[in-house]
Symmetry: D2
């Protein structure tokens, strides 16, 4: 297997990205290494120090992590006093030199530190993991939010949409990537390799992910899609083991039934909207027969809200105890008779219930509505897994992406928090709370 030539270099460098080389420490503490890295002008030395910092970080004790982030937060901050002076100077004389000084002073030193660490091949993924640790500590150490601002800023640049690589995941995909799909699936857990195979191999199933070129083995986000006839009303049908595979050319609808973010350390760097639009575009080009793009989505906050709502009702319904039992046990015995009542409550929850910013309470609703989707339908008995019953009494939602209206709906939602719905969902919501749905606008067509 003699190896040479262009392809060899090209592909090995793109796909066989060196993993971060583990190096032995030279005795300096992680903070001393940070000081030296910021001070150094030698690329060789910087490289080695970057590697040492990343290696050291993975070996820190919990207390050591806190000390390290505290160091970044307090000792690598901006000098606000100096910034004030330089702002005044720039106001007086808007020269490029003054602006350069000002911008340099306005950037916390830790940002340059992180940038230098990132020069080490393989560092980016490690820095994403570092931030994942930081986020875990944020609640107890709110000041670390200052350091998190710099991670967010840098990740926003590095993971700019223009750098992301969309890839289809299928049964020809490498096993080390497929096992990450199993691991990261956050909506409908994948039991094993057979379950995975049912989701990526059949001709009427698709899975797409975004990757970053320097983390080619690690998906950032992925979406699972089913090509079907008609808008589906339950996820059981989609995930059934022995269902008949549909010829894609016979499908008229693409159902996005699961979207999962993979990297905790990239929280707040949003990819979902882009991925959905990319996939819609690709599917339209590839499968001409498909005209409808719709989700089958959970309502993660429904049950929590419903319990509170029932508690406030002057006369709670007879089946309140059943609901409480369902949430507790994950089994929905007897609830199917209340399907219509539950659907009304869900419509009300999605359409009328707002958080303190005036936004829908449900996070999944916020995501799709902000993308320009509308609430198309609500189904009872749609996710009868234990998790589905606990979260939302087994109800699921179709959000519809109407390509001609995405822009208009997004703007209406972004500017006025307008929730667009189908006529049937509006009817459901009205039945639940006749006087409250003043801000619902029905999709006119």
């Amino acid at each position: 297997m003699n190896r040479s030539g262009f392809f060899y270099d090209l592909l090995s460098t793109l796909f066989d990205r060196p993993h971060l080389a583990r190096v032995k420490g030279d005795g300096r503490s992680i903070t001393a290494l940070c000081e030296d890295l910021i001070a150094s002008s030698s690329e060789g030395a910087s490289h080695n120090m970057g590697q040492q910092i990343l290696s050291s970080f993975t070996e820190l004790t919990p207390q050591g992590e806190i000390e390290f982030f505290n160091y970044l937060t307090e000792r690598m901050d901006i000098d606000a006093d100096r910034l004030q002076r330089l702002s005044a100077a720039y106001q007086a004389d808007r020269s490029p030199e003054n602006l350069a000084s000002l911008l340099a002073a306005a950037e916390p030193k830790r940002q340059e530190l992180l940038r230098r660490i990132n020069r080490v091949p393989g560092a980016t993924g490690e820095l994403v993991n570092m931030r994942a640790r930081l986020l875990l500590l944020l609640k107890d150490n709110p000041s670390f939010g200052r350091t998190d601002l710099d991670f967010q800023h840098l990740f926003g640049s590095w993971f700019n949409r223009g750098f992301l690589v969309p890839r289809r995941i299928n049964w020809q995909s490498p096993a080390n990537i497929l096992e990450k799909i199993i691991k990261y699936e956050a909506v409908h857990a994948i039991d094993d390799w057979d379950d995975l195979r049912r989701r990526v191999e059949p001709a009427d199933r698709r899975c797409y992910a975004f990757f970053h070129p320097v983390m080619p083995d690690d998906p950032l986000i992925f979406v699972e899609v089913a090509l079907v006839k008609g808008v589906p009303d339950s996820v059981q049908a989609i995930l059934a083991e022995n269902r008949k595979v549909l010829d894609p050319e016979s499908a008229d609808t693409a159902v996005f039934y699961s979207i999962s973010n993979c990297q905790a350390g990239l929280r707040g760097v949003s990819f979902g909207n882009s991925l959905i639009k990319q996939v819609v575009e690709d599917l339209r080009a590839e499968v001409k027969s498909i005209g409808t793009f719709v989700t089958l989505s959970p309502m993660p906050g429904f049950n929590r809200w419903l319990q509170q709502a029932i508690a406030k009702m002057p006369t709670p319904p007879a089946w309140a105890a059943q609901i409480a039992a369902a949430m507790e046990s994950g089994t929905a015995d007897g609830l199917d008779e209340q399907a219509q009542w539950l659907r009304r409550q869900a419509a009300h929850y999605l359409v009328n219930e707002k958080d303190r910013h005036g936004m829908p309470r449900d996070p999944v609703a916020r995501f799709h509505l902000n993308n320009g989707a509308m609430v198309h339908d609500i189904h009872a008995g749609a996710d009868m897994s234990a998790n589905g019953v606990r979260q939302s009494c087994g109800l699921m939602v179709n959000y519809l992406y109407d390509l001609k209206k995405i822009g208009q709906f997004h703007e209406g939602f972004a500017e006025n928090h307008t929730v667009f719905t189908s006529r049937s969902v509006k009817t459901l919501a009205d039945a639940a709370a006749p006087n409250s749905s003043g801000r619902i606008l029905i999709n006119g067509t």
Copy 2:
């Protein structure tokens, strides 16, 4: 040619990156589009506006370009007054919220604008071209330097060393990349495809480049290397048409005889140091027999300096007129007799002559010395091309990369501007100016 499957997606998305789609404008001016893009929260609309801005930019008149950059500079600047207030507030209360406000205010709006434009697939290369235009206007419009700070900042993040992909260029490389090597070669012009072939195909010739994943057809920088026996004293031998190819296993020396930056718009984003070190590392692993890594470099500023130096000499040498004629004509008739005198002057020029920052006057010397190289030797008659004679009377320099001393030499140079030389170069410099070379340190071995 049925196409499906993992490899198809993977490779087509990585290599067949969409070029920027040209879109028709919708009538808005480029500045109106910028305003709207900054204001927009819709990804779809943003995408289209980004495309329009990039398309519009390429159609601007020279005056239109000036107006556009003026708009970015003046209208998308920071609000220094506000920044001053937020700095004070943060000094008073170092909360994450205050820091967030401060950092947001400290970033010129044009930075976010450029980041949003860059979300468009294929935009990065266009933004590099945009900055290339900006740099051309900088001299006449010094205030544009403020906008340039933001390009530099973003490119520093986007073209972070950890994101670059090293690739070997050879005769199996795609023609569209090879033609860029012909175009961008800045040191020893490549006449045609046959000349190119002589530089990349033989077993004792190498060419390496850095690429960025989103610009896979566009090298950022490349270096040409010859594997030879003994340190070479002229570039003619290296570029000769009918030379005998050496078995690489017989070579003991790798000569870096040409390094070219390809993207004017990336000025100041430094890749050369990294590339040299990458190539040294690769060659050491691949060709065990090679122990010496040396350049054969031009002295682009030598003749200009020499003319000034001669003008100041109390008794100019007899051959001053010959030198002037050589610089004028590009032919060095009769100068070979003055080889030793010229070598001494060159040694003095490299070692003792400083600019106002105390750095060597020669830019190539600054580059290699800062990388940790030393001045190893100086050769007359080493580049007898018209360009070589005009620049430096045909003299060339070997800078030696001694892997064991790179760190020490870099630091000496970075901290004290110490120029490390071989004993023979020191002897040459001493002969030219006996008392001035106090700061030269000979490489001790």
Copy 3:
């Protein structure tokens, strides 16, 4: 550039096929090596002997080649006497064992020899070159035709259509492949890299080739295609330097204006028909607007025939001398006035003139008609290059591939040598020889 992993292995082994390793001979003659290779049962030894045979062959003198092929022909032949006996035995008892013996005896030993040589990685291309040498010697050594039968038989299996890989050639193709396109173009010579680029880079130009997996750097055959509006009447328009590029979506016609076989050693192993059909299929799928597939073809035998025809004419035309001069000089001064007369002669030549097998005299006509094409049109002044004038007074032919009729036309031609033509070509032929065109059938539609 750390290298490992699946892609590395996969791609390096597929694309970076080891070239045949040159080995030192061990003193045995090439024929002794052949004897030993046939006798050997050791894979290791066989491998080395195969390499030695291939290396030795390239160093043979012309006389040595003749002796080597003579050895293969006479000493590695079948034993006809034995074969006769085994045939009788099999006729008596049709047992698998008897058939096995018979088949073994019916295969010249040189076939197994060539098969064993071919086990050496990289050998296939060398064996193709070996046959190319053999073909050159065939005329003077007709007995070598016996050895050639075995090459043909093996190449027919090894280069089975199902093993060929179609690839598009474009400006992103590797330079080492593009240079072979320049070298092998047999119809309209490619002057240099700029000329090549004009044929493969513009959006309305295509080039496709067949490759064999073990010879990935060596095209077997390629075709050049122009996407145009309307059926073209000259090749000058297609090859013009400064022509305007057409948006492919505006094209209605694909013109196959050049087909070249690349490997002399594969003579008689036919790829052209398959390649044309593959390309037609691909283009139909890719460019929906294209409905017409037509060639612009030379008539390599026209002028030779025309001179003979004129010599036989009772009253040669007045311009006979002009025609003779054109063929001699390669310039067609004054002939444009005879365009119509020449077109008639050409129609007659293509349609009525037959060789001793009853087939059209023109080899290009035979190829396309056998593929199922029809003679669509004949143009004067269509290839005014020196070669074009010398071959055919500058005339060219459009053969039309009507996808609905390919099968029917092929069969008509294959069974009855029927030449299908358009009405206008039939009119031309009738005008030239009113009574002779009885077997022409006009394409009925």
Copy 4:
């Protein structure tokens, strides 16, 4: 995901080989299609008929298969009478024409039929499956052996060693290939994906396979290798779930512990020898510390022989019943005390027991000895799986590949059936049968 360019075409055609397109039949029977395909000269029609034949074959009833193979055997055979005449004619006049007629007549028509079917992209794998069916019918239909000769002949050409592609299989390999490794493992069954992962992912485990370019998803043969310290004496240690991974640089021995052929239809087309030698070569280049290449192999015929041997013993050993029980139950209770006796019997079995051709009775022994290996050691308790106990009372064998002696050992075995052993194995064999081991030669070093 815009797709164009060279890489797209190149890779999609190489990796995303079209699977055989299923076509609807046109009513003709499979034998009628065969007649027509042999008669046809139209490529388009042939293509379609080839597809129909392959599709029809998969739908045949068992009886239909027999009829089809009977048709191939009897109706597409050679005409022995004609062959006899042509042999005589060639003997009289050795002209190329006479040889051509002779060779054509000496080839059963079914060979050309299979070659034409193979022109259909994706056909090769189907033809391999067709022969797998044929082999199943061979015992009851011995005449089909005549047709099998043609399959063997063609597969020998098509799967020539020079066309095979070696690939490493690891955890980055595509899932659809990995699942075939699970399926085809014939020696030590792979339980599930976790078990597979333990065999291909750790740094001290390797798996290599041969592929054919037109069947890129289907391994032909693969070998599993463990890098260890010292020659191992049991497979349990190698397959243990919680073993400690060894740094490959610390290993001194590569153990081939499993070799599996994947394609029943390629029986008799031998790849194992080539694969072992390829892997030895690769490992030597990659892991410098490894100097010993050894197998850990089963003795599939040992128990069957041992039972017969015991039956013939005048005084069977006391533990004969235990042995019989072990073979029956797959558990080896109490047999560990007889380890030494069993090892002696095994040595005798491997070294002295011959089949009617004078070859060792054990098929695995025949394979490795013919490759040039020697019997290095025999271990009791080495494969305590049910299968291992049933086959060979849990004993396993190390065959040693001594690179310096492979050639000599192969020749000794091939020419004189000499079994080379280590001194210790000879001692064991001598102890079992003192006077019979005259032909054993101990590896002298």
